[in-house]
């Protein structure tokens, strides 16, 4: 009888140890998936596109807080231009600096918005006339 109780107790103890071990393992794997500093990162597909900006649609690098970016979006939306927006301030750590470095390859001042137009044109800032010329007059560049 005593040996049965001891066996059951040993099984329970081993089960508890196994559960604790697995929980710790899962927690460390989950930490490894987190970006630097544990901060939330933006959409990873958009990050990949931002780093390799090849698209039939215009790609706009922007900030969520930037009024010039908001005005640009309003203008593009009002003119039914289909575009992709990548908000750099939604990323942190190396992803944020990687994207900024990429923006500087098209716009050395690193200002926002920076819009890559299919065909190679780059529009910097809220520039209605340039957007009209590049995105509205050229039928081949709007989606």
């Amino acid at each position: 009888m005593n040996s049965t109780v001891a066996l059951l107790a040993a099984i329970v103890v081993l089960a508890i140890i196994a559960v604790l071990f697995l929980r710790k393992k899962n927690a460390s794997e989950s930490d490894a998936d987190k970006p630097e500093g544990g901060k939330v990162q933006g959409d990873q597909a958009l990050y990949a596109l931002g780093m390799n900006p090849v698209s039939e649609k215009p790609i706009m690098y922007a900030l969520t807080t930037c009024q010039h970016c908001k005005n640009t979006r309003k203008f593009l939306d009002a003119n039914n231009v289909d575009y992709i927006v990548i908000y750099l301030d939604e990323y942190s750590g190396s992803q944020r600096s990687d994207l900024m470095e990429k923006v500087r390859t098209y716009n050395p001042r690193g200002t926002f918005p920076t819009i890559l137009v299919p065909g190679g044109k780059v529009i910097v800032g809220f520039r209605k006339q340039l957007m009209q010329e590049a995105l509205l007059h050229d039928a081949g560049t709007t989606a």
């Binding site: 900030l63 969520t64 807080t65 930037c66 009024q67 010039h68 908001k70 750099l88 301030d89 942190s92 944020r96 600096s97 900024m100 470095e101 500087r104 050395p108 001042r109 690193g110 200002t111 926002f112 800032g125 809220f126 520039r127």
Partner: protein
């Protein structure tokens, strides 16, 4: 603090220096909301038109009002965000000059 309260406070501070907030109230309100969002995000009211690196020391030149405001207003009549304007343009809601970034790119990210 609400965006409206922030605007009221910043307008008073600006006027004491001879500057004014932009005449487009919607633009100013959006900027004030963004300043408060940055305060929440970084702990300080970083310029909403520039990408912060989230280090206060490194971002110190772009905490609003940024150190470039005076030179920008002197040259263009408005700051980089067109948030602060000179007396000459204080009543023009359509005044949005293209203000060239004068911050050294090596300072930011």
């Amino acid at each position: 603090m609400t965006p409206e309260q922030l605007l009221e406070h910043l307008a008073k501070c600006a006027e004491s220096k001879g500057y004014y907030l932009h005449a487009d109230h919607e633009h100013c309100l959006g900027t004030a909301e963004s300043l408060l969002a940055n305060k929440e995000r970084y702990g300080y009211m970083c310029c909403p038109c520039r990408l912060a690196c989230a280090d206060k020391q490194q971002d110190s030149d772009i905490i609003c009002p940024c150190v470039y405001r005076d030179a920008d207003i002197a040259e263009y009549g408005a700051c980089f965000c067109s948030f602060y304007v000179s007396k000459e343009h204080k009543d023009d809601p359509d005044f949005f000059p293209d203000v060239e970034e004068r911050r050294d790119p090596s300072r930011g990210l």
